[in-house]
Amino acid sequence: MSAIPAAEATPTPTGPAPSSAARPGRRFAALRSARGVPRALLLTGSGITLFFVLLAVFAPLIAPYGFDQYSANGQRFAKLAGPSAHHWFGTTVQSVDVLSRVVFGARTALEVVVLAVVFSIIIGVPLGLLSGYFGGLLDRILVLVMDALFAFPYLLLAIVIAFLLSDVVIGGGVVTTALAITVIYVPQYFRVVRASTLSAREATYVEAARAMGAPARTVISKYLFVNVVHSVPVIATLNAADAILTLAGLGFLGYGIQPTEAAEWGYDLQRAIADAGAGIWWTALYPGLAITVLVIALTLVGEGLNEVVNPSLRRARTRPVRLPARPGRGRGAQ
């Protein structure tokens, strides 16, 4: 669970779902019509996110050195050297270039987050649909289990799962970490999709489909699915933001990606604790900033989408009616 989706995304699940609103064309129309501050925030967030995606995709071209490279032309880099023309962000205690690690860290983050979000959607959405449509014992059990998982301190859950997976089952790595993160987010998709399914199930068009003799499979895949997925992009974006933090937290505690496999921001920050004691700031600042900026950007996108998709948060577009002036305030009725 995450605080952000809990705080803001809760109104979404039961939002009205006329079938055409689920179509992307309509959503983008709504996006275009968002204006003022929400629009600016949405655009800024998308821009920054795109920047990080580009960093991740073209990391080998952008980064000046490899993520674990400590020498060039037969010469070892200086240890813990401050930012300079050769190493814009300085070097670490292992003489590795901080800028290169930050750039390659974007790649790791993108891989893990995309995998985790895809996994949780693949698991959470069908479970929510089935549970909501069929109800009964399956539904009760699933709801209980998901609620229990949801109530669990989520970072601890991820730690334990990442620890067990890497210790005994499949070894550490991107997939392991993504799976550990998946477990935390499945309940969110499940809840939201189940809630929308419950309300959509009673809608006339579903009843009509059933009356015409459509089997459950058809009803779910053709009618319910499209009307229920409209809330998924918002959760997915906010979850992606949260997943970056969880990934970093795992890395910070040493249960994420192993340092020899890939660059990971959380791990770099853990190594930076010792440096901070000596007053060295560059090993902490840059990876930390990368996490923070990317999470902010994703949150802005998620929130912007939420405001666009969720009419209850949108401001009325009609101009406020100005009441005759009363002393000391400018707000009129809306």
Partner: protein, 333 residues
């Protein structure tokens, strides 16, 4: 009636949580004793330790044993240093409690006023700044904030200590009474010791507190905005009550109920954050112990600590529901 129903509803939840914890810790092949001590003891000694701890019995018996233990408040013993989990809680729980409570206070003091202000000034520049601040505090990993604070206040300005809960020379001088260091220091009447302990608390509490601040800003902002739109606020405005009074007396009061509820539900976030904060500041809390036990592959210790954390989350949310029901009669029916 409501309270009783709520308590009964919590029982299957706890049961499932416990089962999940137990299964998680036992999917590992091999047994906890050899995982923790395999490299250090001979096969005979291992078998002896296994039998002593009961790991040679069928899994279902161990499961029953575990559930029974939790019901009677016995969370098991650690393997590596043979402490009971209860002892771990006594030794290290105070530090975690101090840290989380202090963090919550920091969050309330910063978050609530900012959120209300942002709601009043919706979509103005100060609203945008406050919201961005809220997003930033939530987006910045707690250990990154901690490191920045260490660099700024610990190193550059050299105002505050950055590691541990007290200076090494101060800690042994405080007589142990409550196992909560800051209370003990206050009770001892030794103000230099209290000052030392308090100064150690500031940076960790602010780091962890800022994490929750973002949540509080968002919550109080959204809720105040919603109440500001409601009929009774409109009615209050129509009666010509000053805007300030409308916000404070009518909107705020009603907005606070969900804010307090959700704040209480941040325990899961706080506990997760506490583990990270404790690592960053070398804070002698339960989270620090948990990471230590994870690293030494002490599964029973991890199982015990995770169980306690999960129970704390469930009990706190239960308490909040009950308090809400007592305060607001609409919930009871």
């Amino acid at each position: 009636m409501f309270i009783l129903a709520r308590v009964i509803l919590a029982i299957p939840m706890v049961f499932i949580l416990l089962t999940v914890v137990f299964l998680l810790m036992r999917v590992a092949p091999g047994d906890p004793v050899s995982a923790a001590l395999g490299a250090r003891l001979s096969a005979g000694q291992l078998a002896q330790r296994r039998a002593a701890a009961g790991f040679d019995r069928p899994l279902i018996v161990q499961y029953g044993d575990y559930l029974g233990g939790v019901v009677t408040g016995n969370f098991g013993r650690t393997i590596t240093d043979n402490r009971s989990i209860t002892q771990v809680l006594v030794d290290n729980g105070g530090a975690t409690l101090t840290l989380t409570v202090a963090a919550l206070l920091v969050a309330l003091i910063i978050g609530l006023p900012l959120g209300m202000w942002a709601a009043r000034r919706r979509d103005k520049w100060d609203d945008v700044v406050i919201r961005l601040f809220g997003i930033a505090t939530f987006a910045a990993p707690v250990f990154f904030v901690g490191l920045l604070l260490q660099l700024l206040f610990g190193k550059t300005l050299d105002w505050l200590p950055t590691s541990g809960a007290a200076s090494p020379i101060v800690a042994p001088t405080v007589p142990e009474k409550t196992h909560i260091l800051i209370l003990d220091a206050a009770l001892s009447g030794d103000w230099s010791a209290f000052d030392d302990v308090f100064r150690h608390l500031i940076l960790p509490a602010v780091s962890l507190g800022l994490l929750v601040t973002g949540v509080l800003i968002r919550l109080s902002r959204v809720n105040v905005i919603q109440t500001l739109r409601s009929d009774y606020v409109e009615a209050a405005r129509a009666r010509g009550i000053r805007e300030g009074a409308v916000v404070l007396r009518h909107a705020l009061r009603n907005a606070m109920v969900p804010v307090i509820t959700v704040t209480g539900l941040q325990v899961a976030l706080l506990l997760g954050g506490a583990v990270l904060t404790e690592q960053t500041f070398n804070w002698p809390g339960v989270g620090n112990q948990l990471v230590g036990y994870l690293n030494s592959r002490d599964y029973t210790a991890v199982q015990g600590i995770i169980t306690v954390f999960a129970l704390v989350v469930v009990v706190v949310s239960l308490l909040i529901d009950i308090i809400n029901a007592l305060v607001d009669p609409r919930i009871r029916y």
